[in-house]
């Protein structure tokens, strides 16, 4: 495997007031991947990003970016890192164009009008280039922040809830934009509350809660390992008890015994084949049914399940 582009070891952050926002976090980010950091409110996602980007002073641990210790070589590292913050903090009276040009200069790049134009066009902001930022909608402001973060062509890009407050259509557009960045070789770390977003885009997913990383895995592996298939079979006649023909399957009766609920298999698809066998068994037993609703569990189910397990107070 390639050297990690970002390597975090034992990262701890205790805020003044005593909140431990990060607790001994270890994390490696591979070059070129899209990594989704999932976690509930207050999990420590923004703190983690802040620690890498220089907004938060770590209480302990080391961060290595591009093979350099960030505590010492922060200057060269930061020139290669971009950040889209969670909050919509923009210079309200600046125009879009000037705001993006400022970012380009601030990060030490020569002024490149063509590149700015390209970025603004790709984010559908070109016709707003001379507008003051305060006159833009929330979703547009979010895109201005993305444009600013891209102005110095970062190799590692942090997106802290990039699609919060962006409508569904534009969110899709933004996913495409992020996919294009990945094609250009940009490594992307994003946080999101929309699990569907992680499912759609991420190569790997990390789940964080209470300042600890609970699990990091390939999205597919995670879904395969923890995912299940659920099938709801709507029975024609209510059953008194589970017939012996289907007892071997992971099934139970639900809702006034008019439904047979199957939960089994893995996210890899084994479940669907087993459901097919189940329906054949039902037919053999002479049990009639009206419909079958079958679906694979999503990352969301995995996520909710995993966090539920952690709810037990320490």
């Amino acid at each position: 495997m390639n050297e990690p582009i970002l390597s975090i070891r034992g990262l701890t952050k205790t805020y003044r007031g005593g909140t431990r926002a990060l607790d001994n976090v270890d994390l490696d980010i591979r070059p070129g991947e899209i990594f989704a950091l999932l976690g509930p409110n207050g999990a420590g996602k923004t703190t983690l990003i802040g620690a890498v980007c220089g907004l938060v002073r770590p209480s302990g641990g080391t961060i290595t970016a591009f093979g350099h210790d960030l505590a010492r070589d922060w200057r060269s590292a930061r020139a290669r890192i971009g950040l889209v913050p969670q909050e919509l903090s923009t210079d309200m009276f600046e125009t879009v164009w000037r705001a993006v040009a400022y970012s380009q200069g601030l990060f030490g790049k020569p002024h490149d009008a063509a590149r700015i134009e390209e970025i603004l066009r790709s984010l559908s902001l070109w016709d707003k280039k001379d507008a003051q930022i305060r006159a833009l909608s929330g979703g547009m402001k979010r895109r201005v922040l993305i444009a600013k973060a891209l102005a110095h062509d970062p190799e590692l890009l942090f997106l802290d809830e990039p699609t919060a407050g962006v409508d569904v259509e534009l969110r899709k557009g933004m996913w495409e934009q992020i996919a294009r960045l990945k094609e250009r070789g940009v490594t992307i770390i994003l946080t999101t509350h929309y699990i569907e977003e992680a499912e759609e885009m991420a190569d790997r997913v990390g789940i964080i809660q209470g300042g600890r990383i609970l699990m990091v895995d390939e999205k597919h592996a995670m879904m395969e390992r923890l995912g299940t298939t659920e099938a709801v079979i709507d029975l024609a006649v209510p059953l008194g008890q589970l017939p012996p023909e289907v007892a071997a399957f992971p099934v139970e009766l639900g809702e006034g015994s008019t439904r047979l609920i199957y939960r089994g298999g893995t996210g890899a698809g084994g479940g669907a084949a087993e459901v097919a066998q189940l329906t054949q068994a039902l037919t053999r037993a002479g049990i009639a049914y009206n419909s079958i609703d079958i679906h694979d569990s999503s990352l969301e189910d995995i996520f909710v399940g995993l966090l539920g397990e952690q709810e037990v107070p320490a």
Binding site: R16, P85, G105, L106
Partner: protein, 255 residues
């Protein structure tokens, strides 16, 4: 040590643009205030005043008035320049950029010094409508104005990092700078004060600034120019040191 010129220039340009956005106010307000002072103190009262140390009263008050506006404007401008990004959250960008204390200061303070020079030019231009005066050491005067502007931009910068409310931001210029400038010999020569007030007046550091600028204008002042220059440079060095420490520790900048 590494210095990123482009970053510093980007900050400088942005600070200048911020001033030009409010150019009307930035120009009109000093023109108006200085005009009022000249009408009241220069023309009306000044007509009945004896020359001070050989300088006609109207001309005598120019350096003090200039200092009054320069200190106030520079301090509040610089403090707003850094307070507002902290307040709105846009400071994230500066903190995440490959920018250290040197680039930040060159950008912010360079812009403040430029603005100070422009402000001084406006005030001096306005003054010509009310009084006749000649500047004995114009180059030194420009240098001294820039030096004072840079020092108080640094001071304002510290103020803007220290303040955690708009009230605190406004209170230092209002409660300290303006009174001290008034008492610092803007309208009179400290040497003319009866004892022990002349000694007390020299406890006011701004008296040395007013005196220094007056020396560059008319070649005479309450204290030798070297003392004023030394004191200003010392103040500048102190502010730079404080800001370097702030950046090193991240005080009020990084959580």
């Amino acid at each position: 040590m590494h210095f990123n010129l482009r970053s510093a220039y980007a900050i400088y340009r942005r600070e200048m643009a911020r001033a030009f956005r409010t150019a009307f106010q930035s120009i009109l307000s000093p023109v108006l205030t200085t005009s009022l002072y000249f009408v009241v103190f220069g023309s009306v009262i000044g007509a009945r005043m004896e020359p001070v140390g050989g300088v006609p009263y109207g001309a005598f008050i120019i350096p003090g008035l200039l200092m009054l506006t320069l200190l106030g404007e520079t301090t509040s401008n610089a403090s707003f320049g850094i307070y507002m990004p902290r307040f709105t959250g846009t400071i994230y960008e500066l903190l995440s950029a490959p920018v250290g204390v040197a680039e930040t200061l060159v950008g912010f303070v360079g812009a403040a010094a430029t603005k100070g020079l422009i402000l001084a030019a406006i005030i001096l231009g306005t003054a010509t409508f009310f009084v006749d005066y000649q500047i004995t050491h114009p180059v030194l005067a420009a240098f001294y104005i820039m030096l004072v502007a840079a020092s108080f931009a640094l001071f304002g910068f510290i103020l803007g990092i220290w303040a955690d409310s708009f009230e605190k931001l406004g209170i230092i210029p209002l409660l300290i700078l303006t009174p001290l400038t008034f008492l610092g010999g803007t309208f009179y020569s400290i040497r003319d004060l009866p004892a022990p007030w002349d000694a007390v007046a020299f406890a006011n550091p701004i008296a040395f600034l007013v005196s220094g600028l007056r020396w560059t204008f008319y070649g005479t002042a309450d204290v030798p120019i070297a003392v004023s220059l030394g004191l200003t440079l010392g103040f500048l060095a102190l502010c730079v040191t404080i800001i370097a420490v702030i950046f090193r520790t991240g005080w009020r900048l990084r959580e």
